[in-house]
Structures are given as structure tokens and as C-alpha cells.
């Protein structure tokens, strides 16, 4: 539906990165080495990456960490107590340790984010690459389909899907993945459109490579930069959506709990036990913040045109 806007969309990256680099340094560096160097200079991105690594580590190894309490262990006599040395983040009404619940909630939130992102990645990249490479009628048809899905009031459809059908985690993946691949398809298509004109593609074809080989062996790897950046930004988007659905009671179902469910449960007893909102909310916000910072940093690092200042 963006027919009129096409003229001012930022131009897709024209030159392969290698050309830019031979100008910049005497010893040619690979795009990745160069990007890595630029990323390391970005302090905010490095701190974000380190923090995320710590969160992911804690989430994965939670059951084996020393001193980690059982998030399902109830202590009804204790009830809800504010943060203390014994319970860093306090406990909930059932006497469950909030710190353990936040860590285990992170397991679910991160898993949903990563798995749904992978789904959107596979579908989006394939769809966009085929549409862009084929061009013509195929492209028109495939992208029109994307346009129509785009204009669906998607959040309503997700709610409908989850209310009317089973609220399983599988349905959650389907519902979340349903949307996220659209933008990915558009990005990849735009990249492919400009890449397929280039001589290395012609060379591959001249050597007798079939369409599938050209697309997935030669073109897709060259779209990796923008794809990586967008993927980094998709994970927090999906975590946020899962939390939003869980907040409405549609996402992760008990006994499982994600950060969204924790915030939602905590919001109900906000006046009495504020720590039940504050800590899960903080964990969720910080994680999203770091993903966004890292995504921004990666965009700056991977974009050979050095658009570090442009959103």
C-alpha cells in the first residue's frame, strides 16, 4: 500500500562491501572483520552484548546455578515479603521466590523470542529472495500478498487465534511468526533486487548455477548484513509481543510463566506488593533495551555506507 512512497525510500546498498574497503585500507579486510572492529568501538553495544550474554547464560543454566531456588516452591506461611537477603526480589503471595521466578520467566521469554524469530527468518528470507530474484509477475503476486497481510489488523487476528483456538505455546509461535516475516521479506527483496544486477550473479549463472543455487548460495549470503540487524531487532519485538499477549492472559499459560505473565500477575496486586511488578518489569525492559542497543550498534557496524547517524 506504499505505492506513492517508493520514490523516497532510502536507496539500497549499491556497492559490494569489498570495493569500499580497498579504498579504506591498504590491507583488505573482510566485511566481517571490519564490522567487528567497528562494533567493538561502540561501548554501549558492547555493554549491551555482555549484559545479554549474562542474561542468556543465567536463563539457560538456571537449574544448575548454586543457590538458585525452586521457582515453584511455595511457602504459604511466609507469604509475600519484600526484597531481603534471603529473597533478593522478595516473594509472591504463595511465598515463591521472585528472583527465581524472574530467571525462569526469562527462559520462556527468551525461548519464545528466539524460536519465533527463527521462524520469521526462514520464511521471510526465502519469500523475499524468491520474489526479488524472480521479479515480474511472481514478484508482483508475492509482494501483493505481503501487502495484504500487512494491512490486516494483525493484533486482532492474533487475539482471535489465541482466544478461539488452543492457547498452546505452538499457537503462540504461529501467531507471532505470522507477522514478523513480512518486514524481513520486504528487506530481503529490496536487497536482492539490487544484488541480482551485479556481475558476480551473472558469473554464477554463466557457470551454470541453477536458480536455487544462485539465490541461496550467492545472493542470500550477501544480504546477511541487513538481515542480521533486523533479526537482532526482531527478537525484542517478539519478546515484547509475547509479554503483551501474556499480559492480556493470552500468552504463556500456567504453570509456565514468562516475564509478561509475571508483570501481569504483579499488576493485580500493585498496591500491596509493588516488587512483584517492578523486578520482572525491570528484567523485561533491560533486556529489550540491550537488544535494541545491540541492534543499533550492529546496524552501524555492518552498514558499509556508514549510516551510523541515520535511524
Amino acid at each position: 500500500m506504499s505505492g506513492a512512497l517508493r520514490a523516497v525510500e532510502p536507496p539500497t546498498l549499491p556497492a559490494p562491501a569489498a570495493a569500499v574497503q580497498t579504498l579504506a585500507s591498504s590491507r583488505p579486510e573482510s566485511l566481517w572483520a571490519d564490522a567487528w572492529k567497528r562494533l567493538r568501538r561502540n561501548r554501549a553495544a558492547v555493554i549491551s552484548a555482555a549484559f545479554l550474554a549474562w542474561i542468556v547464560f543465567t536463563a539457560i543454566f538456571a537449574p544448575w546455578l548454586p543457590g538458585m531456588q525452586d521457582p515453584t516452591l511455595q511457602d504459604l506461611k511466609l507469604g509475600a515479603v519484600p526484597p531481603s537477603l534471603a529473597h533478593w526480589f522478595g516473594t509472591d503471595e504463595l511465598g515463591r521466590d521472585t528472583f527465581a521466578r524472574v530467571v525462569y520467566g526469562g527462559r520462556i521469554s527468551l525461548m519464545v523470542g528466539v524460536v519465533a524469530t527463527l521462524v520469521s527468518l526462514i520464511v521471510g528470507v526465502s519469500w523475499g529472495a524468491v520474489a526479488g530474484y524472480r521479479g515480474g509477475k511472481t514478484d508482483e503476486l508475492m509482494m501483493r500478498f505481503v501487502d495484504i497481510l500487512y494491512s490486516l489488523p494483525y493484533i486482532f487476528l492474533v487475539i482471535l487465534l489465541l482466544v478461539f483456538f488452543s492457547r498452546s505455546i505452538l499457537m503462540l509461535f504461529v501467531a507471532l511468526g505470522l507477522v514478523q516475516w513480512l518486514t524481513m521479506a520486504r528487506i530481503v527483496r529490496g536487497q536482492v533486487l539490487s544484488l541480482k544486477q551485479q556481475t558476480f550473479v551473472e558469473a554464477a549463472r554463466a557457470l551454470g548455477a541453477g536458480d536455487a543455487a544462485v539465490i541461496f548460495r550467492h545472493i542470500v549470503p550477501n544480504t546477511l548484513g541487513p538481515v542480521i540487524v533486523y533479526t537482532t531487532l526482531t527478537v525484542p519485538a517478539i519478546i515484547l509481543q509475547e509479554a503483551f499477549l501474556s499480559f492480556l492472559g493470552l500468552g504463556v499459560q500456567p504453570p509456565d510463566a514468562s516475564w509478561g505473565t509475571l508483570v501481569s500477575d504483579g499488576a493485580r496486586v500493585l498496591a500491596l506488593f509493588p516488587w512483584l511488578v517492578v523486578f520482572p518489569g525491570l528484567a523485561l525492559s533491560l533486556t529489550l533495551f540491550c537488544f535494541n542497543f545491540l541492534g543499533d550498534g550492529l546496524r552501524d557496524a555492518l552498514d558499509p555506507q556508514d549510516r551510523r547517524d541515520v535511524l
Partner: protein, 307 residues
């Protein structure tokens, strides 16, 4: 292409899209297990049959679909299942002003705060002010509104007793919902403005304006802003549709009787007619606004051609 032809073409595209949405939603709802009167399962069979007949649910699905389409064209979605005495249309038109007011204020606040922040950050690129503004903007994008809302309530209502924690009565009850709703938009608009301005400030016509001896504030406010704000303009279309149709989360946190809250309740209650009406209404609203934005775009940037 003339403006009229452009509008006509776009409207012709909107109609089949709406049809696809209507069809998809209709069959999705009817494919779902469980009927709308499940809550009243222990009512006598005869009464249930009577209910089904009253709403035409005993008819074959294709007949129901045909009738639904014919009525939808006339904006008639029938009575709500949950509130049988009320028409879906009535409910929508009653809730819309509430959502629109909440969304309108939030959007206004977002533009009034976000654009200046973005402009300042762009003009003072890579300065401390720039980093601070963009760090804050990223934080604003990252804190979900269902976290921000309760935290604001906790601080401003439950601790300081400054503002009412919920409900939609009196002007001061507007402040917290509007603030909660607009934060993410402020942040995003600031980022968009900065990006747009940076791209524009490098261009030749800006150098020309400076070379003519114009003051920096004139260059920025009159020459650069007009194009630099384009990304914000194209963002505002869908944002306005989303924000005016009611924020589901903000409306439920603060008990605001808007469209978003009705939609969630309707879905939970399996209120078929209300859900269908809301979805279609939202979709047309969204596409209509996008059309308006595309037209506004051409007014701001004469290089864009209608296509």
C-alpha cells in the same frame, strides 16, 4: 497521475483488501471450536435453538456469510451477542470518541515532544545532548507500556496521591493514560526525526541556503525540517490508526471504556458480531488514514509522484 485518479485507484484497491479481511475473519471465527452461547450451556435446548435461530446461526455457513457481507456493506453488523439490546455499530461509535480522545492527546504529545528532541539531537549530532536524547529514546522504546503504566500508577497515584489511578472521569484522569500511551511514540518519533534530519542536513540545497547567509535556525526550521520530517509523516498514518483505535493495554490498565477494551472482551466473550465489526472498522480506518498520509506526503515533497 492526477490526484483524483490516484484516490480512485487506491480506493479500488482498498475494497478487495477489506473483502479479504472480512472473509478471513468470518471463517476464522466460525472455524473456531465452541459457539458464542457456550457460557449459557445449561440453558434448555429449546431456548438455545431459539437463540441460534434468532441470530441466524442455524443457517448454512455460506448463507450466513452472504448475509454478513450484504449487511457489512451497509455498516450493519447486527446486535452484539453479549449485549443483545445494543447494535454493534452503536457500541463502536460510543467507544470510538473515548479512544480517539486518548489517542489524539497521546499522538499530539508525541509529536510536540518527539520532533523537537529529534531536531536538537540531529543539529548537535554526536554531542552529549545527542547521546543523552537517543539513549533516552531507546529506553522509551524499550519499556513496555504495561510496565510503565503500573509503575506510573505506583509512583504518582499510590505513593504521591497526585493523580487518580484509573477510570476516565475528569481531566486529571486523562494524564496517566495519555502519558503511558505516548512515551513509546515520543521516543520513536524522536529517533525518526533525527534520522530524517541528518539525511537532509547533508544535502546540497541546505548548503545553498547556508551560503545565501540564512541564519542556522531558519535553515533548520524552514528548509531542513520540511523534508526531514517526512519519515515521521509516513509513520504517523499507521501510528494514528493504531493509537486512535485504542490501546488495548492502556485501556485495560486504566479502565478506559474505549475500543481496545471492548475488542478484547468481545474476543473473550466470543461476541462474533462485535469482533467482526471492530476488525473491519479498524482495517478501513487504517487504510483510509494511509491514503490521507500518502496525499500529505506529495504536498510536502514535490519530488514524490503519485503512483
Amino acid at each position: 497521475m492526477s490526484l483524483l485518479a490516484f484516490i480512485a485507484r487506491r480506493v479500488l484497491l482498498i475494497i478487495p483488501t477489506l473483502w479479504v479481511i472480512a472473509t478471513l475473519t468470518f471463517f476464522l471465527i466460525h472455524a473456531a471450536p465452541g459457539g458464542p452461547f457456550q457460557a449459557e450451556r445449561d440453558i434448555p435446548a429449546a431456548a438455545k435453538e431459539q437463540l441460534m435461530r434468532q441470530y441466524g446461526l442455524d443457517q448454512p455457513l455460506v448463507r450466513q456469510y452472504g448475509r454478513f457481507l450484504a449487511n457489512a456493506v451497509r455498516l450493519d453488523f447486527g446486535p452484539s451477542y453479549k449485549y443483545p439490546s445494543r447494535q454493534v455499530r452503536e457500541i463502536i461509535f460510543e467507544a470510538l470518541p473515548v479512544s480517539a480522545e486518548l489517542g489524539g492527546w497521546a499522538l499530539l504529545l508525541a509529536v510536540l515532544v518527539g520532533v523537537p528532541i529529534g531536531v536538537i539531537a540531529a543539529v548537535k549530532q554526536n554531542s552529549r545532548a545527542d547521546y543523552a536524547a537517543m539513549g533516552l529514546a531507546l529506553a522509551g522504546v524499550s519499556v513496555p507500556n504495561f510496565v510503565l503504566g503500573p509503575v506510573l500508577v505506583l509512583g504518582l497515584s499510590l505513593t504521591l496521591y497526585l493523580l487518580p489511578p484509573a477510570l476516565w472521569q475528569g481531566p486529571e484522569s486523562r494524564i496517566l493514560p495519555v502519558l503511558t500511551l505516548s512515551t513509546a511514540y515520543i521516543a520513536y518519533i524522536a529517533r525518526l526525526t533525527r534520522g530524517g534530519m541528518l539525511e537532509v542536513l547533508r544535502q546540497d540545497y541546505i548548503r545553498t541556503a547556508r551560503a545565501k547567509g540564512l541564519g542556522e535556525s531558519v535553515v533548520v526550521a524552514k528548509h531542513a525540517l520540511r523534508l526531514g520530517i517526512l519519515p515521521v509523516v509516513s509513520y504517523i498514518g499507521p501510528a494514528a490508526a493504531r493509537i486512535m483505535m485504542g490501546s488495548i493495554v492502556v485501556e485495560s490498565i486504566f479502565s478506559v471504556p474505549g475500543l481496545g477494551r471492548y475488542l478484547v472482551n468481545a474476543a473473550f466473550n466470543r461476541d462474533y458480531t462485535l469482533v467482526l465489526g471492530e476488525v473491519l472498522f479498524y482495517a478501513s480506518f487504517l487504510m483510509g488514514l494511509n491514503l490521507v498520509i500518502d496525499i500529505a506526503y506529495t504536498r510536502l515533497d514535490p519530488r514524490v509522484e503519485l503512483a
